[in-house]
Symmetry: D2
Subunit: 400 residues, 4 copies
């Protein structure tokens, strides 16, 4: 049976509709707001999502019982990439981080009640959410084991205390999935639990939206404070003390869908650069006939194709039932670096124009940088990939 990179016709049609929606509806909005989601009114978000619903490409990753398309990872890859051409594309399709990963987590781990209360409105775009894991130093950063937010058991449920930051989408979110330590000490691996905490829970404060290099994430990156926040037992997502495990359930797909979306942006940058190279002249010929520019363009294509191929491999593993693992770490590391290179080269081909806000390259350049850091910085993924390789080499009977 030959390997099949072609898409099913229905999926291909959905990709086509996505491409059209992005071009006709979403990119003009991105231009208007210069990719700054902090300036984007909630009403416009809803308009974009209504357009996606009408195009029947809304919530492609969510089960059909919740109004989504129920696509597997592999089919998502094509749709998310098409959506990612615009910084606001994933928002329009309701497949942006962190909601998209939260929906997945709720679908897999949530109770029927939790799915109804949280997943359903999330899938419809009625509310938004955030995932509160990262903490300021010396808390949980690239090393989740340093988790220092705590949830203490009481007679009636739990009391959460701690500080989180860089919590994407928190501004205006209806609820947060909060990771808190329920046993063990910071530095020890075990003992985290996930809690569903409503935004209006007493003691839960959104301290500030942190100003960052990137601006395209709706709801910003926020600093959150939990001061004696009481929640009931029904707020526990899944089982107590299984939080790190669920984080893996979420992370494998989440980091892979990040790759898909950002790959779309890289494709757009590369297209703009190739187009300009065909038009702009210097030294008596089109830029695109100059060898050094050709090298930049070719390396863009190589990076994009290798990224796409690695994403599909990760999709296959995830669709086959695997969790976050070696191949998703490899894909995330490669793609985060590759899309950064693509956008950097494409900006370079634009020359001074690339630095200006007259073209979208500078904006893309700002947006893409963080991807080498969040969802595990490249260094952490390399560390994990290398340790596994050494272990396998010492015991080659294990699988690679």
């Amino acid at each position: 049976m030959p390997i099949q990179f072609d898409l099913d016709p229905q999926v291909e049609a959905a990709v086509r509709r996505t491409t059209e929606l992005i071009r006709d509806v979403v990119l003009p909005v991105e231009e208007l707001y210069r990719g700054n989601a902090h300036a984007l009114p909630e009403a416009v978000r809803r308009e974009l999502q209504d357009a996606a619903k009408k195009a029947e490409i809304f919530a492609p990753h969510v089960g059909q019982e919740y109004g989504g398309l129920g696509l597997d990872m592999r089919d998502r890859a094509a749709l998310f990439e098409a959506a990612g051409h615009s910084l606001f594309g994933p928002l329009a399709l309701n497949c942006a981080a962190p909601d998209e990963g939260n929906m997945h987590l709720l679908e897999v781990v949530g109770s029927a009640e939790q799915r109804e209360r949280y997943l359903q409105p999330l899938a419809l775009g009625t509310i938004r959410s955030c995932f509160a894991m990262t903490e300021p130093a010396p808390g949980a950063g690239s090393d989740p084991g340093a988790l220092s937010t705590t949830a203490r058991r009481t007679s009636s449920g739990w009391v959460i205390n701690g500080r989180k930051w860089f919590i994407t989408g928190a501004q205006g979110a209806g609820f947060a999935i909060v990771m808190a330590r329920t046993s063990g000490e910071p530095g020890s691996p075990g003992g985290a639990t996930m809690f569903l905490v409503d935004a209006d829970a007493p003691g839960f404060t959104n301290v500030r939206a942190i100003e960052t290099l990137d601006e395209s994430m709706f709801g910003g990156h926020c600093e959150l404070l939990f001061e004696d926040v009481h929640v009931g037992d029904d707020a526990v997502l899944g089982a107590v003390d299984q939080g790190f495990d669920y984080a893996q359930v979420r992370l494998g797909p989440a980091r892979t869908t990040h790759c898909m979306r950002w790959l779309g942006l890289a494709r757009r940058a590369a297209d703009l650069a190739a187009e300009r190279a065909g038009e702009r002249r210097a030294f008596g010929s089109a830029l695109g006939e100059l060898g050094m520019v050709q090298q930049l363009i070719a390396d863009n294509e190589i990076d994009i194709e290798a990224s796409r191929a690695l994403i599909l491999k990760a999709c296959w593993e995830l669709d086959s039932g695997a969790r976050a693992g070696r191949i998703t770490s490899i894909a995330k590391t490669f793609v985060a670096e590759a899309v950064g290179r693509v956008i950097d080269r494409s900006l370079q081909i634009h020359g001074a124009l690339g630095i200006s806000e007259d073209a979208p390259l500078a904006r893309m350049y700002r947006e893409i940088r963080a991807f080498r850091i969040y969802d595990g910085p490249s260094e952490t993924h390399r560390w994990s990939v290398a340790r596994r390789a050494v272990r396998v080499a010492a015991h080659p009977e294990g699988t690679r």
Copy 2:
């Protein structure tokens, strides 16, 4: 339908048998001759091939009517990679360059008579062959259009004159596929024809085996002289003046199978490095616990996985009927550079031992370098990929 990276059970079993043959039979021979094919007796070549026949993994790429396994490109990828762990593995399986590409060309373009006379014994390993295209400056090199060897029509057939070099496998080959100009001038694209020329044809001289950095190609890299070599019309492979076209028929698969084989060698180097990193200690810990070594190891894994994924994409396109094109150029360029990096890093992890012939790393390092040059140097492929990207960007209705 989810994308499927798993292999069919029969192919997987053949891969397993290949891995065992390489480990038990081929690697000891490689060690004995230190990877130097020029020192390898013809008798040992036959012994290796007999072992592969017995293991039922011989000529995996050739149709079953010629005694091969009849695998498509995608299944070859797995088998060829497994064979490539040893420099002599592809020879054992009779899937080494240039015979493997020549068999493909004969299978697709050859007449029934030519297939019987040339393809059949080639597929059985009874004879070997070479592909005589590259010429010394100012002839055909990275730019095939500079072809200056000529075939002049006579009453009874053709007379070939010219000089070729870096013709792999020519030493001891039973015949050569010779590319000669039958119309047009050097510098003009059109007008090449392929000829099947027997090794004992009067006027056909193997001038010398060129000494090169690499030594693992059986039959060496030779300089050939054609002085008034007469051949009949039955020596024309395919149609007159279609040579450049057939070269593409050969090149797409040929450059992709090169990737497969060399990826196997890179995998072996990475395995050796990871193994050593787990054992060797410095500065109070195992090498494999030092971050900079972990980075080398992780980058090996990333390069290998990206290579493998790109090769599969190229296989899919070739299995779907495409010729040499954008994706095979991208795969060739990326893989040639990636496997070079993998072997370089693996050597570095071995330290002084890596430089010595006590370990196979130095040998691998010598062997791999040429791959960035033959079958199109990286620069030529980038040029072609970039030109296509600029063209597509200018007319986006075309496919990418």
Copy 3:
């Protein structure tokens, strides 16, 4: 005579005073305005410059007859690097682009009258200036020969027409040095002349400040329009039709001083990263004990030292009387890429904090990107360096 990298004691003392001024006076202002020069009031600019005057480090590159320190390139290297630690440091010392290069040009090419009218107040910081060369496509960009702004001779002087953009510092500048074609056609090399044009000249409009990725250049990057701007013969800087030649007079030092200033910023980024690596802990040890972080830190040091060494070589050549040439092109290309890498690595070491405006890394990241584009993009410099190398290799009796 051994080569001497040590500085004269007086210069070393001036460097020390610069370092103190930056730390105590300038960096707090940079923090207050987050490096955004567009928000920096003119009054604060004057305060900073007064502080630098008091510290006797003002206008280090200008001759003492104009109130400067009269340092040669080599001594400037140390002072400008120290000033460059802050984005506003060069402004404080009055050695920021484009004024610094304009002062040099006026000092070398200007008439006594022009030096009194333009150089003197510029050297004192009373006024600012800009250098109007770059034009929107299809005008002069990386290829200056495409110059399309024209100056037509009249009975009473010249009439200038044309459009310029990315003219740094134009907002609020007292005058512009305008490059205009006085003979030949766009695409032909010869025939440009430099004109001194007062900001209030009728027909000279500052169309807009272009929004750009970087924000630290006082006076912004502007689009300028020249519509029938009349100037007298005394506005000609140097001789008619010698503009491209004078551009080289300006460019060699100007691109080298850019290197000095940005190297200072890179040094600051690397210091911040090394400091954080010593403090922040993850996975049970300080970041700075993790090998992959050590690699980032070591590569910072290597890039900085190589940059510094190349800058000194360029200084030596310029101090010996050479113009813009091979070594300044090499230094500019290497340093622009190296400082970009240093800031990128330093941001990475900061993790999420690096992306936020809580630390200055994101700001540095935005500011540094353009340096690979202005004063000749890397591609143009490489082209020129390569052509010279090929020429020298063909005629090795020439010097390298």
Copy 4:
């Protein structure tokens, strides 16, 4: 005082004589033996050295009282680079590793008697020497502290036991400087002593010359065995237990002179590539007019100039009395990687010819690889540079 990169006229003249000797005398010998020093007869070594003596460029680094030129590091830089154009150049000038470093060590640390007995004939080229430090695993490799060869005190002197490998130049050497542990345990830093051991000392066996990727080192890389080798107290070089300290005395200059010599080879490779790029045509133009080739050539020039500038900085520090330190580590790491890149690019520009022994590129490629490993692999130097940077950042009052 401006920095001065020019050479004194006498040194410049000596460089010119070196360049001529290399071109007229040494390169023909290198070609004849294809750079293989193992095939080079001792008599030819002496002929080459006689020619260098006649040209008055022999032993440039040795004091005049021993017949050398007595040049400081900075002047050596120019001469050694010129000599390094040929793989046999340093041998001809008697400034090849390891003799050159051993002469330095003996000059600084040796007693008057030792200088007469060992340094004098070494400086004249009458005998050769080796430096026996590296050991097979788990002994001293990149981590010298793992030293396991021992010297035990007896009534009449010392008894040495241990195994060394990759001891360059040992074949035919008159004596070895042997590093042995005189106190402490493997893994502990302290307690090494250097001994002068004659080649004919009973118990001292040259087990084998290790086959390696490189072949240009006269006397090869050998494995040495010390079995109860008795030496007197006069064999102690310097003081007991100070061996690690003396290793630093040797290493700083030794690694810097390695940089000088290899830079010469890189310069030769770059020259050959630029020359070929000017001559060879493809796709209708000279290679040197193709942008991707220009990029390779320009990057060669950049790497060479940055290497040269860093070497001079290291020379200055060493000439000022510093030992092996930060800047020599930085220079060694950068130069080892840069010269490797230069030779790799130059080979690529040569295409298939670069792989063949018809041109010297393949040979250079084999020779250069080890430089990233010996005298401290890049990883070890980066580790040391980074640790220092973190320490300085934590206590910025220290110097950088």
